[in-house]
Symmetry: C2
Amino acid sequence: MYSQILNHISRDISLTASEKEEFTGILSEKNILKKEFLIQPGDKVDSEYYVVKGCLKAFYRDQTGEDHIIQFAIEDWWMSDFEAFFKDTPAALYVEAIEDSILLKLDKTALEMLYQRIPKFERFFRLKITNAFVALRTRILSSLQKTGKERYLEFCQTYPKIEKRVPNYHIANYLGLKPESLSRIRRELQ
Amino acid sequence: MYSQILNHISRDISLTASEKEEFTGILSEKNILKKEFLIQPGDKVDSEYYVVKGCLKAFYRDQTGEDHIIQFAIEDWWMSDFEAFFKDTPAALYVEAIEDSILLKLDKTALEMLYQRIPKFERFFRLKITNAFVALRTRILSSLQKTGKERYLEFCQTYPKIEKRVPNYHIANYLGLKPESLSRIRRELQ
């Protein structure tokens, strides 16, 4: 059950056997079926989730009822409404399973105590949040400087596994393209 | 010279006298005049900068020559082309002084060594990057859900000091508004 997340963490920091035990002791398993919501607007968000298996999307629904996908997550990724999680504000996003998913839930309070006891985790989560920040900056710059085709190619290169698993209209939404524009781009590239 | 940055850091972590000395030992002062560039596209970005005094903007110039302001920084903020800094890629942004500015320069290699010797700094910079990530997410969600007037009011509330110091057309650019739209909004609010 825990070998995957321990392997994921060991890419950035080394843990002793007892540190591994302490870490896995604060995780709990959470299963969620396709089309179920992990988080809905207004929820209190005390946890972040590591994806053991499955696929999820985080999206914002605007006042006209249109959805805007903010993030995908597959195996080895972390998911939450991070703005709500870090700022202690009510959730603004939906987080929904695109496939049946198995998650590991990490609570904020337990994480804060973990930082005190095993400061190496400060490094691990610093690196994770740095990657998330950089990915967000890259996405903003890409939306300013790149064509739809370039953004799609960048997405395929950066997230090859997601491109294969997520419906095309989700990818179009994430890239800010109309589904028919993405279809045309894909035909042109074939 | 260093009391301001030490005070800034002490809001998040406690340092001993010798740790303070070690930290300030890896900083170097950098002065930059109004309208000068700290970073230009293509530069190697080995450093991030703490603002002791002054005001800067980071912006992307698109292929049509139009500028898009990504970030402002005033006293107590950190500035760089963070994407280039973290990913070791050439700079994509300009960072330009809006006022004569005094900065403290922190090199990436020295920072990595500091993390090894004083792991508390992992926590400090984890908190800083988390704030930056959350601010970016907030900005993206605001662009999806809020009117120009709401975004301007949010900006004034979040960054009251910047609103007072930065020319209006810069704020309009940052908010994705035309200068005349921002002028209208400001008139309506008076």
